[in-house]
């Protein structure tokens, strides 16, 4: 046994091709078996990923060039219509509105939620008594299902006497409100943003907290020797050290902003007057309610391209970072 161990260590020192040829000669049978086992272990996941991810993904591209319907009309067979779905999409004011809403949502929610998450992480990273209790409380919305969150907030947003209206009225001394919130085209998207941040920020707080705890204490000690104040320490040590964490948080929140569906579907179904329409809500309505599968697939393809582009930004950025 000991001998064999040494043998392996020596082999590891020799170069790779040497190792391969050694293995081929000495363990030919073993090696063949290893390949078989490797493929057997890969097979279930590869099969499932292929059938339920790769195939539908390819079909989505294919469908986006057809006028396929969910329940096909026997008198009108599905036809290949080239780029007509995409051309129609770019002219479609609903689609423009949906994309605009997604962009507004991302532009507001991403910075606010990221900054809020960082603030919370710094707050709960303090050495104070009961700090774990606060950490737990801030995280609880994350384990509350989004559908439930949306329903409870719908009640709180009640247009007349709702709690949020009354709260704003009291705080402002009766000057502000009452607002229609979900019934008001100017406020509905903002209302959904607030509860989305409320539900999601705890997740990123935890990611930032891990980032904060990964910063070497020596950096702060060195800064203290140079008598840097708290703000300087934050600006010159904390923020730069959290750069990669921030990139991750920003990118993942941006992607989530484009996937926006559940809370909108529960609360407003995209209304009032498309004020909260999003790409996925439109995709669902076109494909599932209107039966226009081809058109819906074209939305799916464009949605994928947006998500793909956002993810590429992250990968390129992080790769540049490593060099």
């Amino acid at each position: 046994m000991h001998n064999l161990n040494q043998n392996i260590k020596m082999r590891r020192k020799s170069n790779n091709s040497d190792l391969r040829s050694n293995l081929k000669r000495g363990f030919g049978y073993k090696r063949k078996r290893e390949v078989t086992v490797a493929w057997v272990l890969c097979a279930p996941a590869l099969t499932l990923l292929f059938i339920f991810l790769v195939v539908p993904f390819i079909i989505a591209f294919f469908l986006s060039f057809t006028d396929q319907r969910l329940i096909p009309n026997p008198n009108m067979p599905t036809q290949f219509i080239g780029f007509r779905n995409f051309l129609r999409l770019f002219m479609d004011e609903y689609f423009q509105r949906a994309l605009l809403n997604n962009f507004i949502f991302a532009i507001v929610v991403v910075p606010v939620q990221t900054a809020f998450a960082l603030l919370l992480a710094i707050l709960v990273n303090q050495k104070l008594r009961f700090i774990n209790l606060f950490r737990t409380i801030y995280f609880t919305p994350v384990v509350t299902t989004m559908v439930v969150v949306a329903i409870v907030w719908s009640f709180l947003y009640n247009p007349g006497e709702g709690f949020i209206n009354q709260f704003i009225k009291t705080i402002s001394g009766g000057l502000l409100g009452p607002y229609g919130w979900l019934d008001d085209t100017r406020l509905a998207l903002t209302a959904i943003m607030v509860l989305s941040i409320w539900q999601g920020v705890g997740f990123q707080m935890v990611i930032y907290l891990a980032g904060l705890q990964g910063i070497p204490a020596e950096l702060y000690e060195a800064a203290e020797v140079d008598s840097a104040n708290a703000w300087q320490k934050f600006w010159y040590i904390t923020l730069p050290q959290l750069k990669n964490t921030t990139i991750f948080v920003v990118i993942s929140t941006t992607i989530l902003a484009f996937k926006l569906f559940t809370q909108v579907w529960v609360m407003t179904r995209g209304g009032p007057q498309s004020a909260t329409l999003t790409a996925i809500v439109l995709l669902y309505k076109e494909g599932f309610v209107q039966n226009r599968i081809g058109y819906s697939a074209a939305i799916a393809v464009l949605f994928f391209l947006i998500v793909f582009f956002i993810s590429m930004v992250q990968r390129i950025y992080l790769r540049g970072e490593r060099r």
Binding site: E34, W39, L41, C42, L48, F57, L128, T145, V147, F261
Partner: protein, 295 residues
């Protein structure tokens, strides 16, 4: 300036003591205000769920009494939810669907990850890049063709239509892969030389060493799948196979709205996941923290 700082920091100076006390007070004040922000909807939900009187829930919503359990208090709404709204059935559906996905996913995804991280075979690198590429593909972009596919084979309205497509998960595979690749190879090489098969190495050596990553993947998958809404909304028709998320949305859409029942239903969806979180809190935090080490 520098002088000022040093007198301020004198641990025996009265000014320092007072300002420190105050700053700690302010810190707690901030923490508590934010805690109220995160608590009030959930507290409101639980409190309203035990108010038996529907009109009281409505009239209380405009003031702080919304957060005070008083008046006709009891579990009538919970009773309704169980007897009239088939809550047990929906809960079973959700637990069964999510439980099966998580359990089967742990096996299937760790198997391929082990193979990719520890075994040598042709095509391995292509598979690795393919899986990393697949992480990007969001479910939302494939639901429509997937719906056509499952419709064609008659899978609509069943458990398997909600389970099988989500067992294999590129991100879970990636998390396993990253963990397995860091385990020293001496361990399994020695076992192989001793005559153990690759499969035995996976089962008897790698799995016991990798419990943290198994917990991470299980918790993340649970969190994501418990929240699933779009796909079950598309593929369930009746109550038989419907999960909790779709069930409560349907209850919420019905008129007239029975707010007491809705809040009891919502509370009971929240209690299990909240309990699991409170018990396994450390694991949750670790899992989420490690989910970000990605790129």
């Amino acid at each position: 300036m520098k002088n000022n700082v040093s007198t301020n920091r004198n641990p025996f100076g009265i000014r320092y003591m007072v300002s420190k006390r105050m700053s700690i007070g302010i810190r707690y004040l901030i923490l508590v205000i934010i805690a109220l922000f995160f608590l009030f909807p959930t507290v409101f939900m639980f409190v309203s769920s035990i108010k038996n009187n529907e009109t009281q829930i409505i009239s209380d919503m405009s003031n702080l009494r919304a957060f005070v359990p008083y008046g006709d208090i009891g579990f009538k709404n919970y009773f309704d939810v169980f007897t009239q709204l088939r809550f047990a059935r929906f809960m079973f559906n959700s637990l069964f669907i999510v439980g099966t996905i998580v359990f089967a996913g742990l096996i299937v995804n760790s198997m391929i990850a082990y193979s990719l991280a520890r075994l040598r075979f042709r095509g391995r690198n292509i598979i690795i890049s393919l899986i990393i590429a697949l992480i990007i593909v969001p479910v939302e972009s494939i639901v429509i063709p997937l719906l056509l596919m499952v419709n064609k084979v008659g899978w609509i309205d069943s458990y398997h239509v909600q389970i099988i497509p989500f067992i294999a998960d590129a991100f879970s595979i990636f998390l396993f892969y990253q963990f397995f690749i860091d385990i020293p190879t001496e361990i399994d090489e020695a076992a192989i030389v001793d005559g153990a098969s690759s499969f035995r190495v996976y089962w008897n050596i790698i799995i016991p060493l990798s419990l943290p990553v198994f917990a991470t993947v299980a918790i993340l998958q649970f969190l994501f799948r418990w929240n699933d809404f779009l796909w079950p909304l598309m593929v369930t028709r009746g109550y038989e196979y419907r999960p909790l998320t779709v069930a409560i949305q349907q209850l919420f859409t019905q008129a007239p709205k029975m707010w007491g029942d809705i809040f009891a239903f919502a509370s009971m969806i929240t209690i299990p996941s909240l309990t699991v979180f409170l018990v396994f809190q450390k694991w949750f935090v670790r899992s989420i923290a490690s989910s970000s080490i990605k790129g």
